[in-house]
């Protein structure tokens, strides 16, 4: 179908980049300034971007940059999840950074640039654009992960993420080259046309290309066996960055994966569904089992985020309309509950640092019942216990899998989520059923931004839990390229 070209598709990203440039300019005008106004400017940029994206919801599908990006409802939905992650991370960051003397303008500028990379990835309709935006979001994230220069783990996180990221990007680029070789184009819609009936694609090359693209995108989404950077990076990075990576990057990567696999090469799905299903099983089972023996809460949440990538991938394997909708709802809930969980880790202070070791959580439910209950709520939602939003997210994913005749995948995933329930519930057990140590007052972080962020996360998880049909309905409207 002919799609109208208009540059306004890019307005939300322009707002983000504009905000980043503005931050850098005022930093140049008055070097190394600090304070809450930096976070405020960031929030304004994110909200502006969200408002601009919102207007595209009711518009017909439009494209820009010669078909490299597309403005469709799918893009708007995915952008909202990503912008939400950026918004929440910005709310939680100031207090964390301030305590470590890191609240500088470039952090927020990087955050905005990375967000722009993610939202652009979610609306890319050309593989070249996919590659560029992945680099944009990753380069910013590498720096942000290592932002706490004084801490060795932070440097390690940054370095590992960077080296392996570069490695994975090579696979992605190689895959793009094969696609071009096989079809003569890198545009997703044209690839679809070439691989459909009457196309002239060389299927052997395209098959290879899809495998390599899956490696590159699977790395960003943290799927096993491309996941090994994740625990180290998530544990070492500053926690607001971890929350942002866990939420935003995953949403962007899956948006791209859905566009590439489900949209541009649906004709090859008999070829890619099998291997992707294998990766999915590997991801949910492996991550859930390894998480069982983790004693560092941030690391445990990292494995949790890996296993959730597996759950979203089930919806991708389903390769259907209901699968796409289920993936979007899952990403929405997942982002809220994961950032909520990481936010709770930031909430529980241990002196000037954070409470990361599981043993330090004993008796938290006795000393700080409300905060511990909130954390437990997010953990239960991550485990998929009704009536939280996490339950419905899993429900829709399994439902999509069963309808597309992948019932076995749903069964394996349910088994894995039983294992996963163990390590989520264990934290709650430690918090509520063990005695608090003497002399540990268990102070909470009093930052207002963090509290607002947690309240927003709670709101989303509860809202999806109460009215899952409403959100699924929205997601069902959000099909790539308007269906």
């Amino acid at each position: 179908m002919p799609v109208v070209q208009h540059w306004t598709v890019l307005l939300p990203e322009l707002a983000l980049v504009g905000g980043a440039i503005f931050l850098l300019l005022i930093d140049a005008a008055k070097p190394s300034q600090r304070g809450p106004h930096l976070a405020f400017i960031t929030l304004v940029a994110v909200v502006t971007s969200g408002v601009l994206a919102f207007f595209q919801w009711s518009h017909p599908t439009t494209s820009a940059l010669g078909g490299m990006v597309v403005g469709d409802k799918f893009g708007v939905f995915a952008r909202f999840i990503i912008l939400g992650a950026g918004f929440l991370a910005t709310l939680t960051a100031p207090a964390y950074l301030h305590r470590r003397g890191l609240d500088r303008a470039e952090f927020y500028a990087l955050l905005l640039l990375s967000t722009a990379g993610m939202t652009l990835l979610a609306v890319s309709s050309d593989l070249v654009m996919v590659f560029i935006t992945i680099e944009l979001l990753s380069l910013a994230l590498y720096v942000m992960a290592g932002f706490e220069r004084g801490r060795l783990e932070s440097q390690e996180a940054s370095m590992k993420y960077f080296l392996l990221g570069a490695f994975a990007s090579a696979f992605l680029l190689y895959g793009i080259a094969f696609v071009f070789g096989g079809t003569g184009t890198t545009n997703l819609l044209r690839i679809r046309a070439e691989t459909s009936l009457g196309g002239v694609a060389d299927f052997r090359l395209v098959g290879l290309a899809v495998a390599l693209l899956a490696v590159g995108l699977g790395f960003k989404a943290a799927m096993v066996p491309f996941h090994m950077w994740t625990p180290d990076a998530y544990q070492g990075a500053p926690t607001p960055v971890t929350a942002f990576m866990a939420g935003g990057t995953k949403a962007a990567a899956f948006a791209a994966l859905l566009r590439v696999l489900v949209l541009s090469v649906p004709e090859l799905r008999w070829d890619w569904q099998g291997p992707l299903a294998a990766l999915t099983v590997l991801t949910v089972v492996f991550a859930s089992i390894i998480a069982v023996s983790q004693t560092d809460v941030k690391r445990m949440l990292a494995y949790s985020s890996i296993s959730h990538a597996g759950f979203v991938a089930i919806a991708v394997v389903a390769a259907s309309r209901s699968g796409i909708a289920a993936a979007l709802v899952y990403l929405l809930v997942y982002t809220a509950m994961t950032i909520g969980a990481f936010g709770c880790v930031m909430l529980f202070r241990d002196g000037d640092g954070e409470r990361v070791h599981l043993a330090k959580y004993s008796g938290l439910g006795v000393r700080r019942p409300a905060a511990a209950a909130l954390f437990a709520f997010f953990l239960f939602s991550l485990a998929g216990i009704p009536p939280t939003g996490g339950f419905w997210a899993k429900w829709y994913v399994f439902f999509a899998a069963i309808r597309s005749h992948h019932a076995w995948l749903a069964i394996v995933a349910v088994g894995a989520s039983v294992i996963a329930a163990f390590f989520y519930v264990r934290v709650a057990v430690v918090m509520f059923m063990q005695e608090p140590p003497e002399g540990d007052e268990m102070e909470l972080d009093s930052s207002v931004g963090l509290k607002i962020a947690l309240a927003l996360c709670l709101l989303v998880v509860v809202a999806v839990g109460v009215a899952p049909g409403f959100f699924l309905h929205l997601a069902e409207k959000a099909l790539p390229f308007g269906g």
């Binding site: 490696v215 090994m228 950077w229 049909g469 409403f470």
Partner: protein, 627 residues
């Protein structure tokens, strides 16, 4: 203006606020709960006014609040139905609820968990309103279970007392037995018509797209739920024990609202029962049998609250009798007047207990009419209402049911019902005389006194309602317009009612005889005549006083074998087999976890090998497949 969403939202907001922050509000949490109830009550009145302005026949509105769940072709929304039946129920629930909330601020004064009490109370009202406003069986069922939960929490509110904790468990488990049947009934209906929407099911029943067999099965299964919730034979045993809860709870939940949910369910699904004639007959027979049986038990009960509990069971039996013979309008009418006078009786009993320092034994009361004149006055009104004295409310409503039974030609049911009504007059008079007349028998050191205004004023309002409630539905024979029946008929169907003066006279004569008998035995100073009667009755007296040994029979026939089975499952099956399997699986997982985590070496090179290996396998797969 229709505000049915606000009727629901106000008590829910109250409950959420009080559950979250009740401790901070302390004493003022009572005020918050009352404000939430007032908002709901005013909203109910405004909505009712709005509904009355709509011409009769079109008075049924459907509200789609939001879509809750969409799976395949099944779409379930949070939908409300506002029609005369739910309007009458919401007005009653919010009105009586508000009065009991106000009463509770006085009654619960000084309780350490004051705020918690009001949080539960508000949550209960929300659940009850959800039950009566829900447009599909799923949310009706949700409300149904939520009221059960609140009932459990409130019966066991003083859980430090073992009796209260046991009673709470008993109530929950006994009603769950019925609920299981109800759930299966809902499944049956869904399997038959592929919808959970009540109007849809009722239309299907009316136009015959449900077979008679299915309808009978579903109607009986739904009635199982009603039997549990409304404490009918054989699941009535929990209600007398539920009196362990605070008295306002007994008034609100175990007299006026929750226990009437069963009647509401049968009336709401009336097309189903019209189709399933046999099931309707079962409803009527169980109803009238319970009415008589519970009235007999009430005659021999010495605890003031337990007398009222049996009385509630018996009156609910009358309502089921009405609903079973198709007199749905009369059943709802009796449901509403009963809500007035029975909650008044409970509040009066609470006031007596308040004045006597928690005394509940009728043997240690007597002569209270001088010490507690207001309480006596309101209890007298309630007595008039339940015994069926003209012009009190109960006269009209009970008479309407009995007249329908007679007009329907159910002679046997009528005779049993009349005897039950006679017993009702007897035990109620007995209660009144034992508590307020005769010689003072309370123990030393007790100084009866009138209750505070916050308790007396709600009682006075309910007393007025008990006197004039009959005006809601004056029969046409008495120059009335049968307004409530006319209002409800489009929803519940017109009953074949015929005014029969003979019926009225018979009922009156029986009540008068019973009252005089009770006066003769109990109103005198000492209780010598009572002892004589007891001695004359001999073993019959023992049998009734021991409640026909039903609790004991249940304990040996049902509970003991279950316990035996449970201890086998717990001790052998669970510990050896299931725990073994679970622990084995858990050990396996944690072993695997310990081994696999070693793959995570921390070296970037090994991570890169992981990526490379994964990529190599994928490429190999493609190569092999495309060859």
């Amino acid at each position: 203006m229709n505000l049915s969403w606000l009727i629901l939202a106000a008590p829910l907001a109250g409950a959420v606020v009080l559950l979250g922050y009740g401790k901070r509000f302390g004493r003022s949490s009572g005020v918050i709960a009352c404000v939430a109830m007032s908002v709901a009550f005013v909203a109910a009145l405004i909505s009712m006014r709005w509904l009355l302005a709509v011409p009769n026949g079109g008075r049924s509105v459907h509200f789609h609040l939001f879509e809750w769940l969409a799976v395949g072709r099944l779409h379930l929304g949070v939908d409300l139905r506002y029609d005369p039946l739910s309007a009458a129920m919401t007005a009653m629930v919010t009105g009586v609820g508000l009065l009991i909330h106000i009463y509770s601020t006085g009654y619960m004064e000084g309780d350490p968990r004051f705020h918690r009490f009001f949080a539960y109370l508000n949550l209960f009202v929300f659940s009850m309103l959800l039950l009566v406003l829900a447009d599909n069986l799923l949310f009706l069922y949700a409300g149904w279970e939520l009221v059960g939960l609140c009932s459990y929490l409130l019966i066991g509110f003083w859980f430090e007392r073992p009796a209260a904790a046991t009673a709470a468990k008993k109530a929950f488990i006994t009603t769950r037995i019925g609920d299981t049947g109800m759930l299966i009934g809902i499944f049956v209906l869904f399997a038959s018509v592929h919808s959970l929407y009540i109007p849809f099911i009722n239309r299907a029943a009316a136009d015959g797209s449900i077979t008679k067999t299915t309808a009978t099965a579903a109607a009986l299964l739904l009635f199982m739920g009603a039997v549990g919730k409304s404490a009918q034979i054989p699941l009535y045993v929990w209600l007398p024990d539920a009196m362990e809860g605070p008295t306002p709870v007994s008034a609100l939940i175990h007299a006026a609202t929750m226990v009437t949910a069963g009647v509401y369910l049968v009336v709401r699904m009336n097309p189903l029962y019209q189709l399933a004639h046999a099931a309707a007959m079962v409803v009527a027979v169980i109803g009238v049998a319970t009415a008589l049986y519970a009235a007999i038990l009430a005659m021999a009960e010495d605890d003031i609250k337990r007398v009222l509990a049996y009385s509630t069971i018996s009156q609910l039996g009358f309502m089921f009798l009405g609903a079973g013979v198709g007199a749905n309008g009369a059943a709802v009418f009796h449901l509403i007047t009963h809500a007035f006078f029975k909650s008044l009786l409970f509040l009066g009993a609470g006031s007596v207990m308040h004045g006597l320092g928690g005394e509940t034994a009728l043997d240690r009361m007597g002569g209270l009419r001088k010490a507690m004149p207001w309480t006596f006055a309101v209890m007298f009104c309630a007595w008039g209402a339940i015994t069926g004295v003209l012009p009190f409310a109960g006269f009209f409503s009970k008479d309407a049911i009995m007249a329908s039974v007679w007009a329907g030609g159910h002679t046997a049911l009528f005779v049993v019902g009349a005897i039950a009504a006679m017993c009702t007059a007897f035990y109620m008079s007995r209660l009144l005389f034992l508590a307020f007349f005769g010689r003072e028998r309370w123990s030393e050191g007790v100084h009866p006194h009138e209750s505070p205004k916050s308790m007396v004023i709600p009682m006075a309002i309910l007393a007025v309602a008990s006197i004039f409630g009959g005006l809601l539905n004056l029969p046409e024979g008495l120059k009335g317009a049968a307004r409530l029946s006319g209002f409800l008929d489009p929803i519940v169907g017109k009953a074949n009612e015929k005014e029969a003066l003979g019926v009225v006279l018979v009922m009156w004569a029986l009540a008068a005889v019973a009252t005089l008998g009770a006066w003769f035995i109990y109103a005198t100073g000492d209780l010598r005549r009572r002892e004589t009667v007891r001695a004359r009755l001999g073993p019959v007296n023992t049998l009734v006083r021991q409640k026909f040994f039903v609790d004991e029979i249940y304990a040996t026939v049902i509970v003991a074998p279950l316990r035996l089975g449970a201890s086998f499952c717990a001790g052998v099956l669970d510990r050896r087999v299931i725990d073994g399997a679970v622990n084995g699986a858990a050990t396996l997982v944690s072993r695997a976890s310990e081994v696999w985590r070693k793959l995570q070496t921390g070296f970037v090179r090994s991570y890169a090998v992981g990526i490379l290996g994964g990529a190599a396998l994928l490429v190999l797969y493609v190569v092999v497949r495309t060859r």
